[in-house]
């Protein structure tokens, strides 16, 4: 099975109507694939850093060589439950918007592939994408964290401890 069929299945699940003539659509396609790869879903399109941030030249080649299939969402591949869940989350969190997708994929790449700490990853995003505002970068990073990092049981316990005092105080206030 050609690898593009799985990528097309994701586009279909996301309701992404790809048009090769639109720059933003080509950008969205690249960043969707990179974010899914960063999340651990193997689409066969490995992403590396280029002047456009995380990017897959193999995907570009397929987008141009099989444009008709991408534009008409032609695929016989069905996503499994985990893949459908990832597609749903990707759509819910990023909503097919180019800027958060681009910022999010870039942050994820530095953070996961290059193992940068959060501060260094943010610094690298700002260096590579200085044309985006602080607010756009903050939003993209927050979305990337939501999509790429699942809180562990330990994280949830720590959060409960941290917020517990406030919750108890609120309940006490309500009693009065």
């Amino acid at each position: 099975m050609e690898k593009r069929k799985k990528a097309i299945a994701f586009f279909k699940e996301l309701g992404f109507e790809f048009d090769i003539a639109r720059f933003d659509d080509r950008l969205i396609a690249q960043k969707l694939v990179c974010l899914l790869e960063l999340r651990g879903i193997d689409l066969g399109y490995s992403c590396s850093l280029y002047v456009r941030g995380p990017y897959s030249p193999d995907l570009t080649q397929d987008l141009y060589a099989h444009t008709h299939e991408f534009e008409n969402l032609e695929t016989g591949t069905r996503l499994n439950t985990a893949e459908k869940e990832a597609a749903d989350e990707l759509g819910r969190i990023f909503g097919l918007k180019p800027v958060p997708l681009e910022v999010g994929a870039t942050y994820g790449y530095y953070s996961i592939r290059q193992e940068c700490d959060p501060l260094e990853a943010s610094r690298q995003v700002k260096r590579l994408k200085p044309f985006y505002s602080e607010a756009q970068i903050a939003l993209g990073i927050s979305k990337a964290k939501e999509f790429l990092y699942k809180p562990t049981r330990r994280d949830l316990e720590d959060l409960k401890k941290e917020t517990g005092i406030w919750q108890r105080a609120t309940l006490k206030t309500l009693e009065h």
Partner: protein, 108 residues
Amino acid sequence: MQNDILSILNESEGLNAKVFSLVRLKLLASLAALGPDGATYRELKAALDINDGVLFANLNVLKDMGYLTSEKITSEGKELELYIITTEGQDEWKRIRIWLCRFLHCGA
């Protein structure tokens, strides 16, 4: 194919000497990897850390040589300039890469 340094140096006569500046090589290498997708001016400027004057002048030289084309595109409502490598640009970059590899392997 001969591997002596003189032969390798002489092979360079088949290359376009005007491409041999660091900025032009960086631009060709960057855009060759992206193929027909290209990159916008602002992406090239940020990623390669080249100032406006130098970047604009060198992009125009590469365009004049027929190695790049440019077009206006709209992204998120903003009009941007997109630069794309041509077939001639890809061919020249391939020739340079092959020659550089041979040059470095010979231990020069």
